[in-house]
Amino acid sequence: MGKKSDWIGAVAVIGGGITGIQASLDLADMGFKVYIIERTPAIGGIMAQLDKTFPTNDCSMCILSPKLVDCGRHENIEIITNTEVQGIKGKPGNLIVKALKKPRYVDLELCTSCGDCAEVCPISLPNEFDHGLSERKAIYKYYPQAIPNAYVVDKEGDEEHRGCIDCGKCVEVCKAGAINHDEKAENLKINVGAVIFATGAQPFDPIIKREFGYKQFDNVVTSLEFERILSPSGPFMGKIMRPSDQKEPKKIAWVQCVGSRDKSIGNEYCSAMCCMYTAKEAIIAKEHDSNIQPTVFYIDVRSFGKDFDKYIEQAKKEHGIRYVRSRLSEIVENKKSKNLLVRYEDEAGELREETFDLVVLSIGLCTTEAREAFMKKMGLERNEFGFVQANPQDPVTVAQPGVFIAGSFIEPKDIPESVMQASAAASKAAALLRSVRGTLVKEKTYPLEKDVSQQDPRTGVFVCDCGINISGYLDVPNVVKFAQSLDSVVYAEENIYTCSQDTQKKIAEAIKKHDLNRVVVAACTPRTHEPVFKRGLKEAGLNPYLLEMANIREQCSWVHMNEQEKATEKAKRLIAMSVAKARLLQPLSDIEIDVTQKALVIGGGASGMTAALSIADQGFETVLVEREPSLGGKLNNIFYNLEDTDVQKFLTDTREKVQNHELIRIYTNSTVKNIEGYVGNYETVIETPKGEKEFNHGVVIVTVGTEEHMPKAYHYGEDPRVLTQRELEEKLSSTMPEEIQNGETYVMIQCVESRDDDKPYCSRVCCMQALKNAIKLKDLNPRSEVFILYRDMMTYGFKERYYNEAREKGIMFLQYNKDRKPELIMESSMVVKTYEPTMQEVLKIPTHHLVLSTGLKPRSDNEEIAKMLKVPLNADGFFLEAHVKLRPVDFSTEGMFVAGTCHSPKFITESIFQAYAAASRACTLLSQDKYKTEANVSSVNEEMCSGCGFCVSVCPFSAIELGEGKAKVNEALCKGCGSCAGVCPSGAMEQKGFKSDQLYAMIDVYLTEEDKTCLKIKK
């Protein structure tokens, strides 16, 4: 490693999908400069193209967009789009990333995204964001919510369509002067300390599966195309239509495993997310139009994740989605009706045919030659599937120091796991660069704030044309004139783009010249633009909370395009309301809370040890509490695995590292007795064998693990021949080959007392556990007989290879259905009776051993811990994260994090990266000595508070408590959502910046302006 003096406190994140975005946000919050290098014109990746997400059916864009905006406006993040990385050289801590930046032809600083250019552009091309199902212009925005929020010129086009013809019409209409057709490509050299690869994988192109008719038949689409069809911003505005005739389809078929689990095309692995998104697409389609009859053709339903099984059950039971276990032979089009005849072999092996209006191919993720060439160029080792070679015990690290990996770049996976790995990679990079943290981050300084407390309101109103986006549909001069007439308004003006850099300067000048102490911006949505104007006010020496926005674009010009007069009147009224509110605005200060830069980790298994090490490696003192006499948790019970990694050595090494780390203190045989406090300031009492210890810290990480489910069925515990998989593993770990006799039979039953009404979730690890024990048995003596009785083999991702290996080794797999479970008959010997659906026969298997896969269950004391920490559990008793997709390791209470199997059952590798992720999220708080939060929090008027506690019940952030019969708001935890103010019957709870008098003033003006002012003042 090089001298630390030339280390760089910056990280290049390659790939701007959800993985890259999360890694960047974590690193930027931890005090590193981040460059996101993205190939396309905007960040967002595949997630931006999705309609909804499983298993919560959240709108994908609605949950992604805030993260996009955060990236776009983060002081420490620089987004470099249209750019491809060419090479990396140097040493960890000081790397040079060489990249080719293609010209955008549009200046990001100047473009205000008004869209006037695209209006006049004469060239239309297929819209790649909609997978060619719609068209876009040669100058276009990648998608409506794109960040950077700017247009781009396509000069190249594609094989069939020409791109920009340099007609210059866009240049003429661009009032911002943002377009430059002479821009040239640029060779970038970006100096960073570390690199994270998060470039994802390629959606499989089913054109090579000729039998499915993709691109031959109009009404065969991919699942990603169907996402766009579902999306309100998609080609059919969210109406489900089939491409051939734009008619509403009634019968839709989904075909699972297209391009996955398919030896014929060399993709032997499972893509891990298709089963779930298929169920989601079918459910959402059905919600759009209840007449739709969805059918899913599948091999196994791999619902191995948290709450996945329930989702599938819901799809089947509540939404009536038909599941057909089958293999498809071909799809044929009826030339006239364009309907599709699906030929398949059903469970019983019979050939069947059925006609559908639309067929969706559930495509997986794969690698491509270009992708592999890129990896080769980057010096990354590849595995047999053409994905990057990852180490199961250090899952986001590769051989090259300073280079980390995350997301589907490693293996196909869904969003939450990508997000976890993103945070994990960020944690790794941050630990490497800890000595140069904060060196490239600039703290912005602002002029002293003007004291407005003694002044009457003097309001300035700035009305935006948004190019012609607003001025093309509203009479803006009339609006400005009206604004001037309003009470307290001393200045009003019209701007072409109020958000542009030069207008910001003009606003600052106006504030000085007219001694303004309130500013109203009538433009677009505060969601994206309020931070810009707030910063403008701060730079002009005015408290940023003296700003109010009126959205006259989305709410006037865009929705009332054809009604200029009425839209103009509405705009006036909205402005009058904003001015009325602005008059009552008070300066507010952002909240700053001291942070004790130390962490508490509860539970010392694989996750706990990893999290503690990761936080300590980043330089923060950590206390690790373990109830057992020694660290390791479930690792103590794992003796071998299929990846051939030495688990016991890993345990010994990790334990040693933890024990020897100077920043980690371990309390074994200990439990957390009590935790008081809030983010940044926890006071904890730990019960240790040597008495109670007190510890003050800023964050908590919960990694308490799970318990093994001990079965009651199949004479377990009564007959020594009946074992659990764990017991078999322990036995086999010390069994010599000669101890297993030829022909000794083992029957393994999966999902015992699992995935049923009592335990309605999949424990995820049991299928692999069975496979590894089965393969071990075959390795010990190939003549031993092993049967695995399963419901769905959950060998997702690359784990599929072990399923294949097991079959090749002669292990027998027999499927059974939930409602017809295998039975054990105890005669002179044991006989397992099971119904086999393919043969449609009951089989009787005499066996020497019966092995039960029983799964994991939540620890019995989870409830107690949850109560102490005031964090929730899900219906199954596992800890419930803040958001299953995008905040998979955060609790909704700020400062608390979760990792490992107490979150949901998972493999060691997954626990490890989730623990790294929790550490990363924790370090975004620990890396600063102050925790800052916005000022518009709630406050209680104690005189009026009756202490009914409604606010306590509705607060999603546990920020309110009752004390002495009054509600008390913890400003550190309050996020300003306003739920409490809404529910308070007494009006005792108010949200700063949205106080009742401010809102009443708005309503009042609205009602009085209704008949009076607006319609009277005309040009």
Binding site: S946, C948, G949, F950, V983, S986, Y1000, K1012
Partner: protein, 390 residues
């Protein structure tokens, strides 16, 4: 017996699990005096530090809840068919600051017990050390006709006599009592039962909780032999009330639209009495009595100009709709609001149909189950999906 432990509020009993029923023998056919003797014994036994019970005022013109600690001063009439004030509100007042250190016995009607359950859920009362003695309710008469009751007998004699003779008292009942949700005080610790009994001979004493059992320990009571009559009588009265209620709603729920509402409330004098007497209403300062609605003179003139005239005082309709919005989910149907109205606005005609509908929407029966959260604090993701669509 199910005892539910709730944070900060002590235990509350559920009435549906049977303990041994007892009977109180009525001496000399004097129902009121016999119950008074029982209460006196309780007070003497020091198992309660005080009793809150209805007692006639010296003029005999009215019965009021009094807080009594001296057994010699006890001259109660738990059957006085009148509800001048809310006893639930009184318990809230007594226990809001801190819970009672030693048991206090409170004699209540079912509607007031329901109100108390709601107040406990709203953190406005603490029933630790409150022992509820519920009395089967035969209905109550309005306060304004109570003092010069048109019959020969006193109201108490009249109602007990009518009950025995099964003669109709509907014409005297408040509409709230006519449409009562349930006259049986099922949630009490001890129930003094009339239904299915002969009030001149014996009354049922049903012990409903550990608290109630403790209170009656050492008190001489006979074991009840047969409860069949009572069960039938309860079933009958509940059916009758439910029928009354349905008919009342069918008859009265024709107020639709803002104009009909305005007409309904046009006699309102803005005294806010309805709000002040409501047992559920608990804000420390009502928004409508704050300065929020004080406007500049121009705004009033503006309002007048809008239609040419403007009824004063302003905002009475907004007051009533807000009140309804705040109350109906927890409305126990005690009818105190209607009784308090100086303009005789038949408030039950609007509160009962709306309350019934709203409560049905949220599957919420106020006052019935202390464990069930008020709908306001429950968030269901898949609830009211139709709101906001198209």
């Amino acid at each position: 017996m199910v005892q539910i432990r709730l944070q900060n509020i002590g235990t509350f009993s559920m009435g549906d699990i049977k303990m041994t029923d007892k009977v109180l023998k009525v001496k000399n056919g004097d129902t009121v005096a016999s119950v008074n003797d029982l209460l006196k014994e309780l007070l003497k036994s020091k198992k309660v530090q005080a009793l809150l019970v209805m007692q006639e005022v010296p003029s005999k013109a009215m019965s009021f809840p009094v807080l009594i600690s001296d057994p010699d001063k006890l001259n109660s009439n738990v059957f006085a068919p009148v509800l001048p004030v809310s006893t639930a509100t009184i318990i809230s007042k007594i226990t809001k600051v801190e819970s009672a250190s030693k048991p206090i016995g409170v004699v209540m009607r079912s509607c007031q017990i329901r109100a108390l359950v709601e107040l406990v859920k709203l953190n406005q009362a603490n029933i630790e050390n409150i022992v509820i003695i519920g009395v089967d309710c035969l209905g109550t008469f309005p306060v304004n006709t109570y003092s010069d009751f048109p019959e020969k007998a006193t109201p108490t004699e009249f109602i007990l006599d009518s009950f025995k003779k099964k003669s109709d008292v509907v014409k005297y009942l408040r509409s709230a009592c006519y449409t009562c949700k349930d006259p049986i005080p099922s949630n009490a610790d001890i129930i003094i039962g009339l239904y299915g009994m002969d009030p001149q001979k014996e009354l049922l004493i049903q012990i409903n909780s550990k608290k109630g059992k403790k209170l009656l320990e050492g008190i001489q009571l006979e074991v009840s032999k047969d409860t069949n009559d009572r069960e039938k009588a309860i079933k009958r009265i509940r059916e009758e009330k439910a029928k009354n209620r349905m008919e009342f709603i069918k008859d009265k729920s024709n107020i639709k639209g803002i104009d009909a509402l305005a007409k309904f409330f046009d006699k309102c004098v803005n005294c806010h009495n309805c709000m002040k007497v409501c047992p559920i209403c608990y804000c420390r300062e009502c928004l409508f009595e704050s300065s929020v609605f004080d406007l500049e003179v121009n705004k009033y003139i503006g309002k007048a100009e809008k239609k040419g005239l403007f009824k004063m005082p302003s905002d009475s309709l907004l007051f009533h709709t807000t009140r309804m919005n705040h109350m109906v989910v927890s409305c126990v149907g005690c009818g105190l609001c209607e009784q308090a109205c100086p303009s005789d606005i038949p408030l039950m005609e609007i509160i009962i149909p709306i309350g019934e509908n709203v409560q049905k929407e949220f599957e919420y029966n106020p006052g019935s189950d202390i464990e069930k959260k008020v709908p306001m604090v429950i968030y269901k993701e898949d609830e009211y999906q139709e709101v906001g669509e198209k």
